[in-house]
Structure formats: structure tokens, C-alpha cells
Amino acid sequence: MISQIIFAILLLATAVLFGLRLKTIRRNILLGKDIERKDRSADRWKNMARVALGQGKMVTRPVAGFFHILIYVGFVLINIEMFEIVVDGLFGGHRTFSNSMGGLYNILIGSFEFLGFGVLLSCIIFLIRRNVVRIRRFHLKEMGGWPKSDANIILIWESLLMFAFLSMNACDFRLQELTGEGSIGFPLSQYLGNTLYGGLDESALHMTERFMWWFHIVGVMGFAVYVTYSKHLHIFFAFPNTYYANLEPKGKLTNMEAVMKEVQMMMDPNVDPYATPAPADPEATPERFGAKDVTDLTWKQLLDSYTCTECGRCSSECPANQTGKLLSPRKIMMDTRDRLEEVGKSLDGNGKPVDDGKALLGDYILEEELWACTSCNACVEACPVDIDPLSIIVDMRRYLIMEESKSPESITVMFNNIENNGAPWAFSAMDRDKWKDEL
């Protein structure tokens, strides 16, 4: 009875912590500006089904893709077993469904064992890739300290959960052998039972089984809460993020509406330049051109930042990063998320937005990073969950140019040439046709 109460309290605590944290994240994301991403719902569902559910972009890297799919499928399907574990925990049963489900139960447990083993194996391979093989993208500058530990904690935690899951089964297998009761097939864990737990007597097996059972379920609950504070949020956010992804051609940048109005006024000969402007909405804060801080970005860009799991495929495909420039698209996403968290915490503390004198641009992201971008979209293409680092880079360039008139000198020259000659170089528009003489 006591264990049931403890279980119920832990379950409730997990739900509360998880829910509150998601609520905070949701509030943070909605600090972003609005952007239309609710149209074309059929295409959006299709994109989500292909990219998130179907892992369509993961397999472009076959090794990582294969093992990731093992973890993904294992994680999703083993959750079916979680249902029984929760029912057992709340009502004090043991393998509640084993009798009523008959042969199907055996099939399910059998497949969970293979899946669990697949997850364990994949996690170990991923740990080796990260820490022994030292693949470059896992060791770029932004991957020191917490991001590095975060990744290892997740992999080790998942490995331990799977080990506990298989051990729990292994003990039940041994108990079945000893007592002659029950006939559940444990296709994989029987070997584990014989090797690791072969020497234990009945009561030690019971104790080990209980320990593993509790370790697993409490571990799962803790993991659920941990995930919301870590890069691992992609397991949930990959779905909305691919649903709300940009479905336009990648080369298309948004046309800024605020600019459109002004340019139309300038180009319209009927507009009276001395007319008193329409009374401004006193409630509205004057909108900034481009992005200086996270609140200048759209909610989709902020959702992107929480979705990023720091895999670094973007940075490893980035021409600037490959050639030693300061830019790393992954860092752009991590900085955006970290700054958003900082702004969110300040909101929590003060109850209202307070200027902390800091900004995403300058305190996190440097101009040198922004100017290294070739806008080639390799990062966007590489992202397995449709994150768009390029849009943030462009929005920050817009801020630099239109609010601060800050650009590399040669870029200013290019602007002047376009303005004066209609070409990025200093050639006269009258010479445009010169090539005709060479025909």
C-alpha cells in the first residue's frame, strides 16, 4: 500500500513538474512575433509525417540514421509497456496484463526486449562516436561544458533505463525457472538472467527485480522532467516544428511588410510627403527592423531553438564552418535558446519584462558570425527537424543594416553602387548593353 502511495505521488509530481515547465517554454516561445504558419494544413501534416514521424531526413547519414531509428522506434514502442508498469504501480499488481492477454503478451514482451536491446546498443555506439571516435561536429567550440555533459547524461541515462528494463525481465525469468510459475517468454533477457543473476536465490531475485522495476520507472519519470531542461526536447518538439516548417522554396526570404509600406509611399507620386501621418496606436511599441534580441524573432524561430538537439549536422554542412570561420549555425540556435531562457527567467523573477542591458546580438552572437554566412541553405537542408538558422542570421543582418547602419565597408560600397548605378559594381547603367557589340 505504501509503495502504491509513493508511486502515485511520484507520478503526480512528474506530471506537475513536466506540465509547469512546458507551460513556461510555451510562454517563452510566444514572446516571439507572429508569423503565418497555419495555412496548407494537408501539406503540413505530410511534412510532419515524412520528416518527424518517418525520420525522412535522418537517413541521409546512414550510420547515425540507422541507430537513431532504433532508439526512436524502441522509445515509442516500449512506452506501451510503460502503461502496464504504471497500472502495476498504482494498483499494486505485477504484470497485470500477462494473464488476460495470453500469447499476445508474450509477443509484446518479446519485441520490447529486442527493441530495448536495440536502444541500449545504439546508445553505447553513440557514446563511442561522441567520446572515442570524436566525430568533428560533436567537438566544435560550442560543444564544451554543459552541452557536452548534457549529451552524455542523456545517453547514459537511456542506457541505464534499458539495462534496468532488461534486468527486471531477467529476474522474472529466473523466478519463473525457480518457482515453475508463469510462462512468459523472455527471448533476450533469459541470457542476461543466467549470466548476471544466475547465482541469486529467490529472495535476492525478488529484491533485485523490485529494485530494477523502481529504478526503471523512477528513472523514466526523472528523465521526462530532465528532458524539458535539456537539448533532448526534440523528442516532443520535432513534431510541431516540422508541422510549422517553412514550406516555401528555401531561397525565398520574407518581404518585410513594414518596409513594403514605406517603399510604396516613396514610390507613389500621389502621396503627399507633408501629410500628417495617421495617428499611431499609442499601445503599440514601434517595431524594430530586423532582430536584435529574441523577442524580435518569430515564435517559429524560437520553437526552432528549443527543438534543436545540437546534433551539429547544420554546422558540419556549413561552408563557413568547414573552412574555419567563426559561424556555426548550431551555435546560432543554442544562443537563441539560451538567451530566450535568460529572458524567460527574468520574466519569472520580475513578473514583467525588464531590460537587463543584454541582447542576443552582441552578447551571444557576434557580427563576425553573421557576416560569414553565404546564405546557401546547407544548414536548413541538413536539419533533420526542419530548423532554419539562416532566417535568424538574415534577421540580424537586417537589424545591423537598417537600425545601426553597420556593415563591412565593401558591403556599404555594394549598396551605394546598387543605389546609384543599379548594379553592385560601379558601372554605368548605360553600359549594360555593351556585350551586344561583341556578338
Binding site: 516555401e248 518596409v259 527592423f289 573552412t323 570561420k325 553565404t374 558601372f427 547603367a429
Partner: protein, 266 residues
């Protein structure tokens, strides 16, 4: 070879003759002013002429699409350019445009419609494919390229930006050459380093130039020719070849130039 020089009318001239062009050739700034890119322009014109496509250019009325300004963050300048160009294009009731540059192509196709400029925009390699498919463009004697290895460098603004991968390749397949793909091609292609207004500035500090990296990838295929579809890529890859001191072994040519050469038009 043509004996009489080809006459390329402006849209204004054509309209004053009471005719309308089937398609407007948007030459682009590089294609108009850059010495190397002008050769590509001339190759495109020769092909259009040979295929009897009724085309015209804007001439002095063409102005930068605003692409480099937009990508560098100057939305004002971009939209000013766009509105000006749209006024001109709409004034002539232009319906269809072919560009010699993927950057112009992308901007005209994707970013002008919201500002009031609605045209069917294609890249010159797409027009080449069209002309081949319709039988207007036939390469009778492709022996010029026999036994040559050609690798195609996907321009970001044609490939990833607009998912055009096949048109340039099917044009190249008309040549009797061996088409070899780079390790990084199509949607995984590596940028030449010129996009996003990089063409107009020094590269940021790093340990290598992007164009050198890309040219090395191209060299892995042991090509005789690196084919491009963008005047900026062409510059970057040409510089890359110079950097690697391979000018005597490898040529960098636009697809239009290769097709024109195969047709003995140059």
C-alpha cells in the same frame, strides 16, 4: 558561325515594331558587366538566336534585382529595386523571363510576386532543357566533348533554394561526355562561397577559402571541365582552379557555353 552580327532587341524596340517577345532574357549585372560572365551571356544569346526564340532584353532599363542587398540585410534597397523593376516589367506586360543567373532567378521568381511582380521565371538551363525536349535544340555533332569528364557544380540558388537539379544535368547529357558527380552534389552540394553577398566582400577570417574547398571536391572527380550555371560560381571555381594551379588541365564553363560550343556557335 554567323556572318551577320546577331541583333538583340530591347523590349521597347520590339514593342515599337508592334511585336511582343515570347520571353524576356534577364541578363543580370554579372552577365552585363563582368568580362567572364559576358561570355556566358553571349552564349545564351547565340543559342536563343539559333533556336529562333523570339526574345528581347531590357537593356539600360534592367537594374539589379536587389538580391545582394536583401541578403546583406538591406530590405529597403531591395524593395526599392524590386518596385522599380516591377514597374518596368509590368509596363511592358512581361509574362515570361529567363535569367542567366540563379540569384536573379530566385529573386524574380520567389520574392517579386508579393510585391506585385508575377511572371513565369525560368533559369537558362531550364530553357535549354525545354529547347532540347521540344526538338528545337539538337546537338548533331557532339564530338567536341567525346571522352571528356564533366562535373557539374550545383549553384545553391538553383539547387537547394529552388530544387532545380535535373535541368542542368539533362542539358549536359546532350554532350557526348562523361558526367561525373561530386561527393557533395545536388541538395548536399557545397556552396562556392559567393552567395549571401559574400561576392562583394572579403571572406571572414578562417583557415581556408570556401571556393578552394569546393574546387578540391570538384578535382576529386578528375574532371576536364567543371560546369557551372551561375556567373558567381563560375568566378569562384575559376579562382579555385587558379589557386590550385590547374588552369592547363581543367576548364570552368557555364552549361550554356558548353552547349553553344557543341553547336559550333562560339
Amino acid at each position: 558561325m554567323e556572318n551577320t552580327p546577331i541583333q538583340v532587341p530591347t523590349v521597347a524596340e520590339m514593342i515599337s515594331r508592334g511585336e511582343t517577345p515570347e520571353i524576356l532574357f534577364w541578363v543580370g549585372c554579372a552577365g552585363s558587366f563582368d568580362d567572364r560572365a559576358r561570355k556566358i551571356t553571349k552564349a545564351i544569346v547565340r543559342i536563343l538566336h539559333k533556336c529562333e526564340v523570339k526574345f528581347a532584353v531590357l537593356g539600360a532599363e534592367e537594374s539589379c534585382t536587389g538580391d545582394p542587398a536583401k541578403r546583406a540585410g538591406n530590405e529597403f534597397l531591395f524593395q526599392m529595386q524590386a518596385m522599380q523593376n516591377i514597374q518596368v516589367l509590368n509596363g511592358y506586360e512581361v509574362k515570361r523571363i529567363v535569367t542567366g543567373c540563379p540569384h536573379c532567378f530566385n529573386t524574380l521568381k520567389n520574392e517579386y510576386p508579393e510585391l506585385g511582380g508575377n511572371y513565369e521565371v525560368i533559369h537558362h538551363t531550364q530553357l535549354l532543357q525545354e529547347l532540347i525536349d521540344s526538338g528545337k535544340l539538337r546537338i548533331e555533332d557532339s564530338s567536341a566533348f567525346k571522352g571528356k569528364r564533366i562535373t557539374f557544380h550545383d549553384p545553391c540558388y538553383l539547387g537547394r533554394a529552388n530544387d532545380v537539379y535535373e535541368a542542368p544535368r539533362s542539358a549536359l547529357q546532350q554532350l557526348d561526355a562523361e558526367l561525373v558527380e561530386m561527393r557533395k552534389c545536388k541538395k548536399n552540394g557545397l556552396c562556392c562561397g559567393a552567395g549571401g553577398a559574400q561576392m562583394f566582400k572579403e571572406a571572414e577570417k578562417g583557415d581556408k577559402e570556401v571556393n578552394v574547398e569546393r574546387t578540391e571536391q570538384a578535382m576529386e572527380t578528375k574532371p576536364n571541365i567543371i560546369a557551372t550555371g551561375c556567373p558567381f560560381c563560375n568566378t569562384m571555381m575559376t579562382d579555385g582552379i587558379k589557386h590550385l594551379e590547374k588552369e592547363s588541365e581543367v576548364q570552368v564553363k557555364d552549361i550554356a557555353e558548353l552547349i553553344a560550343e557543341a553547336q559550333d556557335l562560339l
